[in-house]
Amino acid sequence: MNVNLASFLYLVSGILFILALRGLSHPTTSRQGNLYGMIGMAIAILTTLALALPSAGGFGLIVLGLAIGGGVGAFIARRIAMTAMPQLIAAFHSLVGLAAVMVAAGAIYAPESFGIGEAGAIHAQALVEMSLGVAIGAITFTGSVIAFLKLDGRMSGKPIMLPARHLINLALGAALVVLIVLLVGTESKFIFWLIVAASLVLGVLLIVPIGGADMPVVISMLNSYSGWAAAALGFTLGNLALIITGALVGSSGAILSYIMCKGMNRSFISVILGGFGGETASAGADDGIERTVKQGSADDAAYLMMNAQKVIIVPGYGMAVAQAQHALREMADKLKANGVEVKYAIHPVAGRMPGHMNVLLAEANVPYDEVFELEDINSEFAQADVAYVIGANDVTNPSARDDKSSPIYGMPILEVDKARTCLFVKRSLGSGYAGIDNTLFYKDGTMMLLGDAKKMTEEIVKAMDH
């Protein structure tokens, strides 16, 4: 195939990827957008095959590889539980990172096929771009693996703080720079693998000190990295689709990290430096004031809500843990059948990844036009009779608004305390991810419904039938 035509087709596939993201501006256009993405990928693959016609054997290998990988991918995509999304995305990231390393290795071992020079005489510019790509790819790989393990609970979410870790990281970083310079000078494969090894270690060291609950920010950051790695390889290969996609993915990850940090009112740097979150002991309230908690039963909750005019449901991480979304939807249906107005309020960082709650509610068939963002619904709590807070905690904590000394001060919150009654479904009086006591538990208008979110909601549904 003519290179000009090929470049043009790569451009088309880049444009289709832009349209894929653009589709996500609204649920109705999102499915079409995803289709554009698939078409773009198909064009990129077919163009590459046409441009560098593989031998019969090579062709066989390609079909085999696509079949194996595609089969596994399709199987996972079918079976994965929606609540496991954060882990899944971390796992997928690690694959992209490792693949970037492998592609770079392929390019070092067979530079002619990539058009970057002959073995022993690879263009210096290509070597620099490639080693950047491989280093970022390797960091993405191990970093994502750690993130996956922490999110999946196979590794404690507790931050692991090595002594002098900043020093070690700096030293490793410096070593990487030296190795890259050496690689450009010698084109030695041994040094290439040293770069890979150092980056793999760096990836682990960078991520272990970060608490489990900060993993979403980490994943987004790694996503952004993998975008820049792809763009670097795109420069090496002179491939427009890779360059455009890399820039898209890079910006997307960066923006999502930014949104999360803003939603938590923390700086990106503080997240990356680690040490936050994990199993910090719930502080408890030690200010000497005696606190009483009003506890309620499922029957109380059912009675209160059936007699309300307007109920706002505030889901949080606990709903995901308990998989309570279907029971919740059932409860909402009962309420609506009884003439109660029901709305859902989603905080930008509720749950453990951006949009986490929205996916789970969508899974339980909650129509998206009953689900509202913080800015759009916060003024409505004052008119609500009941705020049903299910497994959410930090995102409702009024000390973020009122207590200047609180570590989360300044984080926007859902003002559930403005509702006439606030029902809190959780298993204990323990704190949430931020490890901060929630003063709302002790307020007059609050009734605690202690128990598993799913079980409690199911009991409430039953009680509503009486």
Partner: protein, 141 residues
Amino acid sequence: MDELQKALDQLDQAGAAVRLAVQDLANAPGGAADAAGAAAHTLSGGAIDPFVFRFAIFVLAIFVGYYVVWSVTPALHTPLMAVTNAISSVIVVGALLAVGASAAGAATGFGFVALCLVSVNIFGGFLVTQRMLAMYKKKEK
């Protein structure tokens, strides 16, 4: 005289080789013709290093990425993560080059591994996004 003839022949061959190389340059890429002309009067764009163009494309794509991601509705941020993950596996392009075009050997092996890995991502990423997006429904009225 013989040697001279030989020398002349060699020169001829060398000349032919150079001529061929130049022709290659002039024909293969449509723009090289411009390039030749451009060297003379610095103004035409033909002679510009493609890196500059790629860089321009990269910068503009970052702008597009910035705007297009901010326009994504927060309710779809999880699908956004899944789909960016899927499209970032466009490095399959590199894997295909390694598997298909290179002589069997280490590069083919690396390429094959890369291909398997990104295929998981391509199929898994788009399908799981599709599954998620299929769940977002409007209220029936």
